[in-house]
Symmetry: C2
Subunit: 186 residues, 2 copies
């Protein structure tokens, strides 16, 4: 997929519509992928994103140790992979890329690999962690972002060329948004 750099000030728009994410972690020797519906932009410029992660997850020590996260935006064609990455633990499936047919794409600013099949990738560095008991809200600054040249243009998702953004309902249920709607103040 041909991807272009996204201006950092527009990076929050990659996740603004409430998409589910595949989060990649890694330290250069091992890596892992997990799915996160609980994600949110928290600052526009410089861009910062929050994700909620259980501290018991196999990936959590990677985050603590490296302070680096890849956020990968899957479109609806990757719903099965998202479900698979969400339902399995890196303890049992040490190579989720191979298991789910995803391709590692080296990042420029962080060690975790990115998901080549995702329609956008954000390279992030953790800057603040809010303890929530058994989980944590991990806030990370976006250092670099790229997105599909076909589907993200002029700083905006373009939904006129077959892009279907993926949102998580619960369990194995997702929904997809595929039409843009331009609102007017009544």
């Amino acid at each position: 997929m041909d991807k272009s750099d996204v201006k950092l000030v527009d990076a929050y728009r990659l996740i603004n519509p409430g998409v589910v994410l595949l989060v990649s972690v890694g330290d250069g020797r091992a890596d892992n992928l997990f799915a996160v519906a609980w994600n949110v932009p928290v600052r526009k410029d410089p861009p910062m994103v929050g994700i909620v992660s259980s501290k018991g997850h196999h990936s959590y020590p990677f985050i603590e140790r490296t302070g680096e996260l890849g956020l990968n935006v899957p479109d609806a064609s990757l719903a099965g992979q998202v479900l698979g990455c969400g339902k399995t633990s890196g303890r049992d499936v040490p190579d989720k890329f191979a298991r789910f047919g995803l391709t590692r794409q080296p990042a420029e600013r962080i060690r975790p690999p990115l998901v080549a099949e995702a329609v956008a990738n954000l390279e992030c560095r953790v800057c603040q962690v809010v303890d929530l008991g058994s989980s944590a809200l991990v806030m990370a600054q976006v250092l670099r972002a790229v997105a599909s040249s076909e589907h993200f243009r002029d700083g905006q998702w373009q939904l006129d060329r077959g892009l279907r953004l993926l949102h998580h309902l619960s369990g194995d249920r997702f929904c997809a948004s595929e039409q843009m709607l331009v609102a007017k103040v009544p």
Copy 2:
């Protein structure tokens, strides 16, 4: 619209697909509405939700003073109202309900009124605030939740009866999800 109580353990699912929210604040004398795309579930049980709000907003002192929030889930038919509530300040439009043709519905556990036209409403009490400089991540516990009896059944959004969930892209651009997709692990 006929609404039913949602079990608190299922309340996070009302916002799990990344919908834009209309947030209502009020102290019994005055109230206000604003739009928030930057929202996220942060705990399942007891349910807690986070929203990012600028501290300069007209609504922020209401939140600080009362510690109470109504979260109202608009469907796609309310995109214009969401845009209107997002683009205007309560300083200039003291009654956004009237201005945008929305109906106040008294809440049971909090003072802010709820939006009757929303397909779901969550009554929340602030429990933690994370300072983000000019904005804040306000985390609130859900005390009570109701949703459209037609569109939320068995603890799940049902997208087979014309419900279109509303997601914010940027500015006046939104997208709507209207089809459920059941994923299978490949």
